[in-house]
Structures are given as C-alpha cells and as structure tokens.
Symmetry: C2
C-alpha cells in the first residue's frame, strides 16, 4: 500500500539505520536532538489499530530496540516516544533522546524552545546506533532477525 | 515500587475507566480534548525498556484497547500516542483523539494553540469508554481479562 502524495511513501525519511520488508529505522537530521530516530512502517497505514496485532508487536519491538540503542549510545536523561501523524498519516514512531538542557526540556520537543541547544551533531552516531540496534534486534526480537 | 514525590504514585491521575494490578486507564479532565485517556503503569517505572518484554506487551495491549475504544466512541480524525514523562518520569501513555478543528491541530497538543476549541465535555463519555475498553480487552488481550 502506497500513497504518491505521502512523504514517507516517496522517501526514506532519514538516514537508514535498519530496514526489512515491513519497516525501517532512520536517523533524523536534527542537530538540536542528536540521536533522534524514527521507526517507520513501510506500508501507508494510518493508525496502530489498523495493523494486525502481530504487526503492531513487530513495530513496537523495533521501537524498543531503538530505545535501547539510544540509551546505550546517547545515554539521555529521558526517552520520549510518540506516534502522531497529523500531517503525515503514515505510521511512524518518534524515539527521542531528551536532555535536561535541550531546547524544550521538560516540555515535549514540539513546544516553543526556551533555550539554545548546546549539543551538536556527531557523525559517528549513525554507525554506532546501527550496530546497537542490530545487537538489540538479534537479542530481543522473535520476528526481525531472519527478515533483516 | 512507589515514589512519594510522584503524582502518579500518589493519585489515580484521572477518572478511572479500568484498573488491574499492573496498570490503570484514566479519562483526562481536559475539555479541549474530550476522550483524552492515559494508560498508567502502577509501579514507578521510568522507561518502557525498564519493563520486562511481557509487561511492555501488556501495557501496549491496554493502549490498543484504549485507542480502539476512542475510535469507536469518539470517532476522531486522528489518534495521537505518546509516552514522554519528562516532568513525571512514571510510565504513562497519552492516547489522544484529535480533530482537525481542535485547538492545536495539526501540531501536537503541546504546541501553542492556534484556534479556540469548539468541543465541550460530554458526561456520558466515561461510561461509554469504560464499556468499549472492557469489550476490547476481552476480545484482544491474552493478559488482561483474567486480571480485571
């Protein structure tokens, strides 16, 4: 299922860290929030409850792998998870490392910034996160490794 | 596990729609977003990946039950899901019915409002949502019904 007007059908949506036939994990290009990842379902599906239960579980296992990788590599003060899709109604999860000195903390990142971010992009993040995600998927998931 | 300084350890956090020994589902008192629910883990746990995988699945099954109930009763234009916890680092999921004419759409509800909300509270929501959640938990979940 694909929608030619949908950005997540037309593009990867970020630097690919992992991909299988069902979903992909990308690194978001946002220097204010280094390590911000998205887990994107490949098909153009609107809501989690439009997916079969086993597919929902597979998607969430990728979110947990991503969260664990981010906690290992970035060591943030908090993880934020969100699936919104108001502008792009194509299932995707934001997995966001938060720091107490990031531009919007303790508000969600969509609130008005209250300070300048101090952190910059780290070009080694892509490789380190990819490796940590693969380790986690191999360890935790019943569904993903054979489909990688 | 409990933290005496934590609001979600000290209070229910809303009108209880469902409760078992692991988690509770509450209706949030926000007239701008009628039907806004939270699924709250009872123990004071910080991140999803601090929970065992089976507990994560149980919590997400309650989120899906909540999403289905909201879609059935409220029929929103979109569902927004989020687990943030920057101010209250005690696992809870926001399950938010969104309408294209709500105060912040298409932004997340934490953005600055761009219009006055037109919807008001409906006192019948609590009963209707409770019933729909119980139907859904009985239908979909392997874990919750016997613990209800």
């Amino acid at each position: 299922m694909s929608d030619t007007t949908c950005e997540l059908c037309r593009t990867d949506g970020g630097q690919i860290l992992y991909r299988n036939q069902h979903l992909r994990i990308v690194l978001v290009d946002d220097p204010q929030y280094p390590g911000f990842c998205r887990v994107i379902w490949n098909d153009h599906i609107r809501e989690m409850t439009d997916l079969a239960l086993t597919d929902r579980q597979m998607l969430m296992e990728a979110v947990w792998a991503c969260e664990t990788a981010i906690r290992t590599i970035i060591v943030p003060d908090k993880i934020n998870l969100a699936s919104l899709g108001n502008l792009t109604p194509h299932l995707h999860w934001h997995v966001i490392p938060r720091f107490t000195d990031d531009p919007t903390f303790p508000s969600p990142i969509w609130a008005t910034a209250i300070r300048r971010g101090l952190r910059s992009t780290d070009t080694s993040l892509q490789g380190a996160l990819t490796e940590a995600i693969l380790v986690q998927l191999g360890k935790d998931s019943r569904l993903l490794p054979s489909q990688a």
